[in-house]
Structures are given as structure tokens and as C-alpha cells.
Symmetry: C2
Subunit: 146 residues, 2 copies
């Protein structure tokens, strides 16, 4: 990972992707958010090899998106919960889901409903300052000197 | 990729990640959006091996996020442009950048300014229906039967 991090430099997109720029890592975050906190449950949901799941969990803990907690003393058993940084990534997954629904939406799909209204959500990335959707107004990229 | 796609099933997040669930693919989209349309330019920006860049570009074309266009007849030369589906993914990268800025923001970082106002954008994923940020209201996941 060291080489990747050097390459990321001053780009916050690349820095973010250094932490979670992997399909499995993102799906692990999705499942933990859905209440799957334990290794066996995650493995059953994702259908991946144990060594791959182990490495992704360890990386997410190291990057500070998951916390590993002992829930049983003897034998020692652990579960994984989202940190604040991990929870902050969930809306990005929701936005990826909206993209998947729009561009790969054939057949039955799971949906996210606003609990209070019962209405399906329509995720969108906006600029909080102007309220405008990202992509609807021209932006300028400012790269630091040096 | 075939196995992955079967695993994705009814989850739109997994379906989206099947198309672009890879750090390099996302960084290629970022750079094409920034005006880097040609292989050599992308390779210089990303600093990756040519065969890796080739495979990512081919996958993004196959998945319909990039279009490969011939810009010179003799010798044949190609460039890559975003499709509508590719352009729809850019706000997600902007949201990842906001996450990177918040959680990996040490030192100098590039910034995105609203061109008209000159003010730095503050990307946020919201639900267009309620206007509320994703994560601020409880949601229910509805999985299709069968």
C-alpha cells in the first residue's frame, strides 16, 4: 500500500480510494452497516474466501473504518462495527447503489425506503453551499503548488 | 467477472461495483473527466503499468462508461471520452473526495471551486425526496422475494 499512498499526493479522491478503493472492502462496509458484525455472517453474505475477507477486515480496521471488538472472552470472539469514518462512507455506497439502479437496473432489485414516509429514496450528490447537484454547474480544480 | 456478477444478485450497490469497483478504474474516470483523453497522458498521470491501464480502459469501454474514439486515421490513434453512464459516476468520485478530505486531509490538497461563486464546494449525498442527508434519517432495506 505504501506505493499507492505516495501516488495519491494531493488528490482527496485518490486518498479516499487508498482506504476503501476495492469492491470487497466496500461490500464489507455495506454488510456491516446492515447489521452483519461477525466473520461467519459476512463470509456467508459475500461468498468470498476466508483469507480475502480476513485481509479486507484487517485493512479496514487499520484504516480506521471498522473497529474490532471482543464480544466473548472464552473462547475469544470478535465482531466488527463501523467507526465514524466508516459510517461517513455509507452515503457513498448509497450513491453507488443509485448509479447501479439507473445503469444496471434490469430485474428485481433491493430498495431503500425512508422509514418515516415509506417512500423510496432518490440519492443524489449535491454541493451543500449552492444546493445544486454535482455536475450541474461548472467547477474549477485548484491543485496546490509545489 | 462472470462469477462476480452472479454474486451481485439484487443489490444495486454490488451491481455498480461490478462495473467500477476498482481503484484504478475510478482514477481513470477521474482523469478522463479532467480532460485526459489519451493513453499516454493517462499513464503519465496515474503512473501505472501499460497493461493495467489497457485492461481498465477496455473494461470501462465494455461496461459502457467510456467510449473509445478514433481521432487519427493514419496511423490509427484513439482517445477515450465519458459516456452518459460514465459522467453519472463523477459525482460519486466527488463524494469520495469529500470523504478523503475529511478523513485523510493532512497537508496540501487539491480543491474544487464552484466557478461562478469561487467558493469551495461541500459535497453531500442527500435524498432528493426529503432533501435530508443520507444517514440522517432511518431507512428500511427491502429485498425482493425469491
Amino acid at each position: 500500500m505504501a506505493e499507492r499512498k505516495e501516488n495519491s499526493g494531493t488528490c482527496p479522491v485518490a486518498r479516499g480510494l487508498d482506504c476503501v478503493g476495492d469492491r470487497w472492502s466496500m461490500l464489507v462496509l455495506r454488510d456491516v452497516e446492515r447489521g452483519m458484525h461477525r466473520f461467519d455472517r459476512l463470509q456467508a453474505s459475500l461468498g468470498i474466501a476466508p483469507n480475502i475477507l480476513s485481509s479486507r477486515l484487517a485493512a479496514l480496521v487499520e484504516e480506521g473504518l471498522l473497529e474490532k471488538r471482543r464480544y466473548n472472552e472464552r473462547p475469544p470472539r470478535y465482531e466488527y462495527v463501523l467507526t465514524d469514518a466508516g459510517r461517513d462512507f455509507i452515503p457513498i455506497l448509497v450513491a453507488i447503489g443509485a448509479w447501479g439502479r439507473k445503469h444496471r437496473g434490469e430485474g428485481a432489485l433491493s430498495r431503500l425506503l425512508d422509514r418515516q414516509s415509506g417512500i423510496e429514496i432518490e440519492p443524489e450528490v449535491i454541493d451543500r453551499v449552492t444546493g445544486a447537484p454535482i455536475g450541474s454547474r461548472p467547477l474549477d480544480l485548484v491543485v496546490p503548488e509545489g
